[in-house]
């Protein structure tokens, strides 16, 4: 590397390199670890942005007939909140973790296609900036339009030229199209890496569960994001070339967009949650001091979830008037996916059972995840039951449900990942005190906010409304929900403070602070640029356990 040569020339103190060189190094990097960090920082930035948008929503809804923001602004804010959280927080953070960890966990030097890796990241980054440029550029020639305000599903024909003048819907469409291609690139990379770059001895049956889950996620990305890309191309044809894909006046179908969107949309939420499952499958065994209970079943359940999730999409459309047979079919598939998902919860419990549970912050978030995800799954069963769904969908009940799966499960999993792998990535431990404060504050705020949020839904409060009528039983509940949201915001700030303070003041981590068993803990923290000086050879699922317990290696039992 030219910058290394320069450092040697000037002196060996890397810290005295000019900042322009450091920046250049980061911008042109193809190293999976740096790209992983870039993805994660990008996601954190947009978490702050989308979280602020959530606060705006909750302030507006604190009181009936509040006028904190106009309905036009409110509609843009909730659209941007949803779109940002799914595409520019959820996906980047999961790809960031995968990028950083997968090569390390399989004993590889880097990802299969490092330049594609960088290209995919920058495509995703461009998508996010393009989406937010809409606040400035959305008005187009007619002075109409701003940020998109069509909801994150962008249902047709609301997105047609007639109902969405200006360019706001185009920013939604094109920024996600671009980001989608970035996601496909990373998915291709992850699959090729896992299939082609494993170190000797690492058969697929010895692959760490995080790698398995990312393999399945990447497969799902290939066939789930692409339907959305296709639908978005069709929308562009409608809006720019006068096409009629979703033009109901010309015989087009609004429900066709719904089908295409949810064929993407439902697997998408499994794409988001499976990496959280991956984190749990790595953290829970280490903090229960036992191997993952039922590894083959966990792999099988993951693959089953991957397949079944492609068949449940119309449970988002139970109210759009499908026949009773159509509705019944999707009830069956939706209920069916509860089986492998439940199996996973039981297996995590089985891992903890008989173990020696250590309540460090990563484990606290995992236990919180189990509690929250159980409830999320059960409200999901309620929503999957089409008749019950006819009352619950389109209301705050479903908003509460999916925030339980996203804020309460996905985010808890990501927090656990941060506390677990920050020492590996940065080389310093995160503060346990701040971590526990973050956990409890967030847990309390989360439950205050989202437990209560179910109730206005049961009392008839529709979603995506910028204000509501007083006297329907929703007033106090909305106020309390907003307070809960605020508490979560404070907890998140504490988390960010922890990240920053520990960067400078955290205790040095060493290679293996958690006494863990997968390959990433065998290298220094942070790992050297080349990952492994000598490519490891493994004989079991827990190579470091075998090393630490040569009298009782896993390879004897697998």
């Amino acid at each position: 590397m030219s910058s290394d040569a320069m450092a040697i020339h000037q002196g060996t103190d890397v810290g005295s390199r000019p900042w322009v060189e450091t920046l250049h190094g980061w911008v042109t990097t193809v190293d999976h670890k740096r790209l992983g960090i870039l993805y994660i920082l990008y996601a954190l930035l947009f978490l702050a942005v989308a979280g602020s948008e959530a606060m705006i929503i909750r302030i507006q809804l604190m009181y009936p007939h509040n006028s904190f923001v106009s309905p036009q602004v409110f509609n843009r804010i909730f659209t941007m909140h949803g779109t940002t959280m799914v595409f520019f927080v959820g996906i980047p953070v999961l790809f960031g973790l995968a990028n950083y960890l997968v090569p390390l966990m399989i004993g590889a030097r880097d990802m299969a296609f490092p330049r594609l890796n960088a290209f995919s990241f920058w495509l995703t980054a461009l998508g996010g900036f393009l989406l937010y440029f809409s606040f400035l550029g959305g008005s187009g020639l007619y002075g109409a339009g701003n940020a998109p305000d069509v909801g994150w599903w962008a249902y047709a024909p609301l997105t047609s030229r007639a109902f969405s003048p200006g360019h706001s819907s185009d920013y939604w469409t094109i920024s996600l199209l671009v980001a989608g291609f970035g996601s496909i690139g990373t998915a291709v990379n992850i699959i090729a890496t896992i299939l082609c770059m494993r170190c000797p001895g690492m058969k697929l049956s010895r692959l760490p569960l995080l790698a398995w889950l990312n393999l399945v996620v990447s497969g799902m990305v290939l066939i789930a994001i692409t339907p959305l890309s296709a639908a978005q191309i069709m929308l562009c044809v409608d809006r720019y070339l006068g096409g009629h894909f979703f033009d109901t006046q010309a015989g087009g179908s609004a429900t066709l967009w719904m089908h295409f969107f949810w064929i993407f949309g439902h697997p998408e939420v499994y794409i988001l949650i499976l990496p959280a499952f991956a984190v749990l499958s790595e953290v829970i065994p280490v903090f229960s001091r036992k191997p993952m209970f039922g590894y083959p079943v966990m792999v099988g359940a993951t693959i089953a979830i991957g397949f079944i999730s492609m068949s449940v999409w119309a449970h988002h459309m139970f109210s759009m008037g499908m026949s009773s047979y159509g509705n019944a079919f999707f009830v069956l598939t939706t209920m069916a996916i509860a089986v492998p998902t439940g199996i996973k919860i039981f297996n995590w419990l089985g891992t903890m059972w008989g173990g020696r549970i250590i309540f460090k912050t990563p484990m606290l978030f995992c236990i919180g995840f189990l509690f929250n995800f159980l409830i999320a799954g059960l409200t999901g069963i309620m929503l999957g039951s089409a008749a019950f769904n006819w009352q619950l969908t389109g209301s705050y009940f479903v908003v509460a449900h999916f925030h339980y799966t996203l804020s309460g499960s996905f985010l808890f999993g990501i927090f656990a990942a941060f506390y677990y792998w920050y020492p590996k990535i940065i080389g310093r431990m995160l503060s346990e005190r701040l971590g526990k404060l973050h956990f409890w504050l967030f847990f309390i705020g989360f439950h205050l906010c989202f437990d209560l949020m179910h109730i206005p839904g049961l009392l008839g409060m529709a979603r995506r409304i910028y204000t509501y009528e007083p006297g329907r039983g929703w007033d106090t509940l909305n106020l309390l929900v907003s307070i809960g949201a605020f508490i979560q915001g404070i907890a998140t700030l504490i988390f960010v403070a922890n990240l920053i303070i520990s960067y400078f003041k955290g205790t040095k981590a060493g290679n293996d602070p958690w006494d863990a068993w997968t390959l990433e803990w065998s290298v220094s923290s942070p790992p050297p640029a080349y990952n492994f000086a000598v490519t490891p050879t493994v004989a079991s699922r827990r190579p470091l356990w075998d090393l630490k317990h040569p009298e009782d290696p896993d390879s004897r039992y697998e």
Binding site: V188, T226, G242, F532
Partner: protein, 198 residues
């Protein structure tokens, strides 16, 4: 400072994993197939539902000759890549060139058909549902053919400059996988548009 070796009974004699180029291209093909599937679904869903304008059976002419061109180009590219594996660079270049010619002929055929449809029958992408779905589906395929032709031409230029050698036949194989995919998609598009949808 991170060497890990574990004591275990057998050392794998060979540790052979698939070629990442092929895996990557296979993944891309899967993703692209999903996109094409959605366009095909839209085409079939809207078949017969246009409110106005020309119908398929009124205006479509089955492009048999140009289809034969495209499908034969799969054969020529397959032969070309086999020849390169055996080091027959001259023959490889000839067949590679023939592949490009056949692909270009197919594009010419598409262009000719579209010209006829637009100027003689007044069918554009905004005319009716048939127009929208037809031009989108065939156009998406044609775009993929164009990208393929571009990549094939780049390889041809490298080949003429003497830089394509037997050691690169794996990469040539990856590219020909893409070309076979493009041809396979045409089989589907042809069936849907000219056989089923009429």
């Amino acid at each position: 400072m991170s060497a890990i070796t574990t004591p275990f009974p057998e050392t794998p004699a060979t540790w052979k994993l698939p070629y990442r180029g092929k895996v990557g291209m296979a993944c891309l093909i899967i993703a692209e197939s999903a996109i094409f599937t959605i366009f095909v679904v839209a085409y079939l869903y809207y078949a017969g539902k246009s409110l106005t304008g020309p119908a398929p059976r009124e205006v479509l002419e089955t492009p048999i000759f140009f289809t034969v061109c495209l499908l034969s180009s799969s054969l020529t590219i397959h032969l070309a890549s086999k020849l390169l594996e055996r080091g027959r660079r001259g023959a490889f270049l000839a067949l590679w060139f023939l592949t490009i010619v056949l692909g270009a002929l197919f594009m010419y055929g598409t262009a000719r058909e579209w010209h006829r449809l637009i100027y003689e029958h007044g069918l554009t992408i905004s005319t009716n549902l048939f127009g929208t779905t037809y031009y989108s589906l065939v156009g998406l395929h044609a775009t993929h053919v164009t990208v393929g032709l571009l990549m094939l031409t780049i390889v041809l230029l490298f080949g003429l400059a003497g830089r394509v050698v037997r050691e690169q036949s794996a990469r040539i194989d990856v590219l020909s996988m893409y070309w076979h995919f493009v041809d396979a998609v045409w089989v589907v598009v042809f069936t849907v548009v000219y056989v089923l949808g009429r």
